[in-house]
């Protein structure tokens, strides 16, 4: 070391100036958010990659051989793709149609309609699937019994790939619904009106104007849905196995079930999904990037005015009621009915005579039920809020900034979608058991797990909305002297709010069901509702489980309606 020279102090001065420039709120916020996204994604990704490619002897590809080496893997991938694409298409059609009707037309009972569209998502997957078995099994299905005089026995068969597509597609349609609601809310109807004025028919307008404008949302929806269905195990396990229909994730189940779990093989399967997903994210950004095409929220003021259905209003009302009878009321009725029985049996005078509220009584006798409800609420509200705040900034980085490597933020935020819950649980417990900060054994480790798991959805919701907002609004705010933070808070956040709210509702709802990583990470006192569901499921009390399902649906439906009412008050005003 030499003594301080003028050169050194000059350099120090330069460094300080550099730091000062970097020390603006904008840079700090961007760095913190990007850092958090990277950290949340990298911890489980590192654990997964390490476990996949390295064993005690060093580098290996054995996991790939075990994962893909099964002679039936071709069939499995075929079934998986059929199932995934089918479910994605079904949920896309259903979700988009419902969202369009809800936002862009004057259908009756909008609040109720909104909540009802979300209900399939609220019902735990096991319950929703078993409810469908009770409805549409060729042997015992109530629907089959009802139509037997007309169409003969066993008309519907839920134990087929089509049955799996039906259940999964309907169960996941709320994801699309929420995405599309946000997209339609931020759309300037003047474009559609001009098309109508120029003589286009309603259908032409929908196909040629409305749909293209929401393409970023549709691409995001397809992407999330395909990956979700490729990963789904509950529906294929309960419906597919009975007739020997195996999917890709059956492999993950088989390789993870014994001890030690074959993390390498599970990782190899996840890596396959990851590659697929990252290609999807890239495509979705290319689609969204093409300039101003989708920016419908511009400096020009508009009020998204609902279309008057006129004489079609009662017809659409009827169609909606029919749809809800089929997809929401049906399964919910089965749950409610089962929750009043001692064991499931087909409706009969005897069954009705045996009904009681015993299962609900038992539910409230469970010592941890209230703690679990409280914890689930806290975690759901906490993770939904945190994720959406982080992802609002994340989406700005990805869509608006010119920072090199910004696409990485998007890719990292998507990574957790393909990481099996068990692997996430193992990775987090591994890290936080060794961390000096006492996080293991507290509720915060669950919060970290939930934020990680739901980051991909939050990002899709936020990015999609960001694509619709024109940059000129921010530019004018900044020209008028607003700081970056003021612009973000006062201009962007309100405009993004339909998308952020939709993502928030989604995360709140699904967080109540998170089991695969919670089960490894919770500790006594931090029980969550999904753990109770699992216990009731393991313990053979299906009827109590049905009661729990009914209580969950009621609780979350109320929350969703409140959020919807509050949401209608911020952001874009509707007439």
């Amino acid at each position: 070391m030499t003594t301080a020279s003028p050169a050194v102090s000059a350099r120090r001065g330069a460094t300080l100036g550099w730091l000062r420039r970097l020390g603006t709120p904008k840079v700090i916020i961007i760095v913190v958010v990007a850092g958090l996204i990277g950290y949340l994604a990298l911890v489980p990704l590192y654990y997964l990659i390490w476990g996949t490619f390295f064993d005690a002897d060093g580098f290996t590809l054995g996991g790939f051989a075990r994962a893909y080496g099964d002679p039936r893997v071709g069939d499995m991938i075929g079934n998986s793709l059929w199932f995934a694409v089918g479910s994605a298409v079904l949920s896309l059609v259903v979700g988009t149609a419902l969202a369009y009707l809800n936002v862009r037309t004057d259908v009756p009972f909008k609040g109720l309609f909104f909540a009802a569209s979300i209900i399939p998502l609220i019902i735990p997957g096991i319950l929703y699937t078993i409810a469908w078995i009770f409805l549409a099994s060729p042997d015992i299905g109530l629907l089959n019994k009802a139509i037997e005089p007309i169409l003969g026995p066993g008309f519907f068969d839920i134990f087929t790939v089509w049955g799996m597509v039906w259940v999964e597609g309907l169960h996941l349609s709320p994801i699309v619904f929420l995405l599309m609601v946000a997209a339609f809310r931020s759309m300037d109807p003047s474009l559609e009106e001009s098309a109508l004025m120029s003589g286009a028919s309603r259908w032409q307008v929908f196909r040629r104007v409305t749909m293209p404008l929401t393409r970023p949302a549709i691409v995001a929806a397809v992407l999330v849905m395909v990956v979700r269905s490729l990963e789904s195990f509950e529906v294929p396990a309960l419906l597919g196995l009975q007739n020997g229909i195996y999917v890709f994730t059956s492999r993950i189940y088989f390789v993870l079930r014994s001890y030690p779990p074959d993390l390498a093989a599970a990782g190899a399967l996840a890596v396959g999904l990851l590659v697929l997903a990252l290609i999807g994210v890239t495509i979705s950004n290319l689609v969204g990037r093409s300039g101003k095409t989708y920016q419908t929220v511009t400096g020009k003021g508009f009020r998204p005015r609902p279309m008057e259905l006129g004489k079609w209003r009662p017809v659409m009302g009827g169609v909606i009621v029919l749809y809800f009878f089929l997809t929401v009321v049906g399964p919910l009725f089965v749950l409610l009915y089962t929750s009043l029985l001692k064991f499931y049996q087909a409706p009969s005078a005897e069954a009705f005579a045996s009904m009681s509220l015993d299962n609900y009584r038992q539910l409230f006798d469970i010592s941890d039920a209230m703690t679990a409800l409280k914890n689930s609420l806290a975690l759901g509200l906490g993770s939904a809020t945190l994720v959406m705040i982080l992802m609002a900034v994340g989406a700005w980085i990805v869509v608006r900034s010119r920072i090199p490597g910004r696409q990485l933020v998007d890719h990292f935020s998507f990574v957790p979608l393909v990481i099996p819950g068990l692997v996430l649980g193992l990775a987090l417990s591994f890290v936080y058991l060794r961390s000096p900060v006492p996080i293991y054994g507290t509720i915060f480790i669950l919060l970290i797990a939930y934020c990680t798991r739901y980051m991909p959805y939050g990002m899709r919701y936020a990015v999609t909305s960001m694509h619709q907002i024109s940059a000129e609004l921010e530019e004018s705010a900044q020209v008028s002297g607003a700081s970056w933070w003021q612009t973000f808070r006062r201009v962007l956040l309100p405009l993004l709010s339909p998308g952020l709210l939709a993502g928030w509702i989604y995360i709140l709802v699904v967080s109540f069901r998170e089991l695969s990583s919670s089960i490894l990470l919770y500790s006594p006192g931090n029980e969550v509702l999904s753990i109770l569901i699992f216990e009731q499921y393991e313990n053979g009390q299906f009827t109590v489980l049905a009661a729990l399902g009914v209580v969950m649906v009621l609780t979350l439906a109320v929350l969703v309606i409140i959020a919807y009412k509050l949401g209608a008050k911020v952001g874009l005003r509707q007439d």
Partner: protein, 340 residues
Amino acid sequence: MPTGTSSGKAQEVYDRINGLTGDERTKTLVDLAKQEGTLSIYTSNTDLDKVIDGFEKTYPIKVEVYRGNSESVLQRVVQEQQANYNGNDLVETNAGELNVMADQNMLYPYEGALRAAVRKEGQADGWTATRFNVFVVGWNTTKVKPGEEPKSFEELADPKWKGRVSLEVGDVDWFAAMYKYYLDQGKTDAEVRDLFNRVVANAKIAKGHTAQGELLSAGQFAVTASSYSHTIDKAADQGAPVSWHPASGTPVQPIVIRPNGVALMKTAPHPAAAMLFVDYELSEGQKILHESFRVGSIPTADDPVAGLTTISVPEKEMLDNPKKWDALYEEIVQSGREVK
């Protein structure tokens, strides 16, 4: 962070109590356990809640419980032990998982008169059985009329059961026990596989014993090949039309039984409370488990498997080579379907 007591201190307590009997044992345990004040249990036994309630009413000790499936109980213990984090004093779970923990030297032997009373199969190295899973062939009594009940497992390969039988996708332990049983009976490997293939060709595969049991009650399945006896007994008690006892004659045999048990953690921060709990579960706790239709590890006067042929799971082999049985069952469950 619960890392208090060093492992040496816990083992001192264990050794001291293991040598005591009768009132002296109980009195010493209660005194020490009161000083410790709390007890942390990791378990996959969903019927343990009632035992814990009874324990907390009897002794002034606060119990903290972590419940998960047996796989997550094992994962959690292994993760914590590897990080020197002593989260639990006691673990109560299935045989396979307990054997792994014993194998990795995480458990400490529990001795005493109560252990000596446990069924021989349940006095395992490093842990002690508290109850048995009893795998039985069950049926829906409206779908299978009296007199038509299956008499043996082999009978389920008969085409008349086509589409009416259900197997469970994760019952590798049951499968290994049956497989070994038929080999011991003089069948060749090929013959045993053929038998299972033909049963699978008749079968609808279910996931999870609870869903399987519920669907049996509902009539989706007529017969289940490997239900837990308590699943069926519980449902029958609620009035569901299910049974594993034929109208006349004896149940289908052999019956696979597999112990579930309890073990003391070598590094427990509350060793005396842990031992007191084991003593309680093997005495009062047995009655409480019985009320949940569980088969206790200490035989009683109304032993549900008395006089029936029972066989055990080849634990040593499953521990030494777990992937072999997993892979074989997976293959049979999947490929058996192609046998028409």
